[in-house]
């Protein structure tokens, strides 16, 4: 972390960048949040980079691209896919970004730690492969790898897809089958599937956190806020958007979603929203060939391409 701060200060000082986009300390050790830093003092005082810095900063570069001068942005390997996708969609300006690819050995999920029975957390410090957890009731510890976010278990790898320079080591933390959860649902009976999704989606409070954090959901105006489809949520009574929000959202990001997992990370209700996106990704891979959004900055994307021999929609029925 100190290396990052030193380098950021240098780049600020020599005028290469006008500001730094990183993470600042939260009120608790486990809730740092994205922030812009413009001075060395601010960096020294507030900057943080650690296991809880899961937030993907790519999306903030949409606004930062409109600002004067360059912005130093810190991207983890998986964040670079989102950044590439945003370049692909002309939403961020590569020229306005100075990218430091920061090392990542997987990011932590505070919910996982809490669910393991740890209560009254005061502070968590990383100690090699272990986490030392200070609580109101004494100290305990936990393996770092046991507290990872879901997305880190299906890590896309330690390679940064785009950067100006790299600081720190990264690790491929994948230890689960990416589509295992999706497959499990696919194998259910229609009744079970429906019951599963009805239960999950019933929790939704339409807080829009998933939409707001998603780097693919970056429309200037979401269809759910505009009058173009008579789907506006202005009067929070429109049952169309109420019921269909998550399907439509998933469809809108289909072929563009990099599977960064931010939606599930931020959902206050703990809805596994990535299961929608990952289903589309799995289908796209199976139907149209392996595709990873953001891996190639010039890719057209599976929904704006076709081949004559594409499978027919009836394949859904045939697969049963």
């Amino acid at each position: 972390m100190q290396k990052i701060v030193e380098r950021a200060k240098e780049l600020l000082a020599d005028g290469t960048v006008n500001r730094v986009l990183g993470w600042k300390k939260g009120d608790m050790c486990f809730n740092p949040e994205p922030a812009f830093f413009e001075t060395a003092e601010d960096l020294d005082e507030n900057f943080v980079y650690g296991g809880f810095c899961g937030a993907n900063l790519s999306k903030y570069m949409i606004d930062a691209s409109k600002l004067e001068g360059k912005t130093l942005v810190l991207l983890k390997p998986c964040d670079t896919y989102s950044f590439n996708q945003l370049i692909n969609e002309h939403r961020v300006d590569r020229e306005k970004a100075y990218i430091i690819g920061v090392g990542c050995k997987g990011k932590l999920n505070i919910e996982t730690i809490k669910q393991s029975g740890v209560k009254g957390i005061l502070n968590i410090t990383e100690n090699g492969d272990m986490l030392n957890i200070e609580t109101l009731y004494g100290n305990t510890e936990m393996k770092y790898s046991d507290a990872l976010l879901e997305r880190c278990h299906v890590c896309k790898g330690k390679e940064h897809k785009i950067y100006d320079e790299l600081i720190g080591e990264s690790q491929d933390t994948s230890d689960r089958e990416r589509f295992a959860e999706v497959e499990k649902i696919e194998k259910m009976s229609p009744e079970e599937k429906f019951a599963f999704f009805q239960k999950e989606l019933s929790k939704c409070i339409r807080c829009n956190a998933c939409r707001n954090v998603c780097p693919a959901c970056s429309c200037r105006k979401c269809v759910f806020d505009s009058t173009k489809f008579d789907s506006s949520q202005k009067a929070n009574t429109d049952s169309f958007e109420e019921k269909m929000f998550h399907i439509i959202r998933a469809f809108h990001v289909a072929g563009r979603c990099t599977d960064c997992g931010e939606c599930s990370r931020v959902c206050p209700q703990g809805i596994p929203l990535h299961l929608f996106n990952r289903k589309f990704i799995k289908d796209i891979n199976e139907f149209y060939g392996e595709y990873q959004a953001g891996a190639d900055v010039d890719a057209k994307g599976p929904l704006t391409e076709y081949t004559f021999g594409d499978c027919e929609p009836s394949i859904v029925k045939e697969r049963g």
Binding site: V182, I185, E186, M188, P190, E191, E192, K193, F194, A195, F196, F197, Q198, L201, S202, C204, V223, F229, S231, S239, F240, E242, K243, M244, I247, I248, A250, F251, A254, F276, K279, F280, D283, I284, F287, Y288, P302, L303, T304, Y306, T307, F308, D310, C311, E312, P313, S314, I315, V316, K317
Partner: protein, 145 residues
């Protein structure tokens, strides 16, 4: 949930102006009957059909939605049906994944010359919807009603 009334399904058919809409016209002029439950909405091309229209129909009480377009390779606009095909494949797969009966959605390629196919397709589709009964799942996805 109304269980006492006789089931009269609501079925929306999106038809491309250049092929299946004309195919439906041909079915009409050839007097090839299909149930009155099917109501056709004309679109310039199958690629005009936004998945939101289909979800909207279901949410408003449709029991089945079918989309008809030009055969692959024959699109009036060269490529529209290819995009439509991918979009619908993914949408239908998602609906299936969520437990919505996959018989409620269908895509069929029907040319302007295929009045018989249009009529047969509609007859089959309506029959399927009758066998599935009323669509409750998409209307009840979030237990709000």
């Amino acid at each position: 949930m109304p269980i006492n009334k006789e089931f009269k399904p609501k079925i929306v058919a999106f038809c491309c102006n250049w092929c299946s809409y004309a195919g439906a016209d041909l079915a009409g002029s050839s007097r090839l009957a299909y149930p009155a439950d099917v109501k056709i909405i004309k679109v310039p091309c199958s690629c005009r059909v936004n998945p939101m229209f289909i979800l909207r129909a279901f949410e408003k009480g449709a029991d089945g939605v079918i989309m008809c377009g030009c055969h692959p390779g024959d699109c009036h606009y060269s490529t529209g049906n290819y995009y439509a095909r991918r979009r619908m494949t993914l949408l239908f797969s998602m609906l299936d994944y969520m437990g919505v009966e996959n018989g409620r959605t269908r895509v069929e390629w029907v040319s302007a010359a295929e009045g018989v196919k249009f009529s047969t397709t509609m007859n089959e589709f309506v029959e399927k919807i009758y066998s599935l009964g009323e669509n409750v799942r998409l209307g009840d996805l979030r237990c709000k009603k």
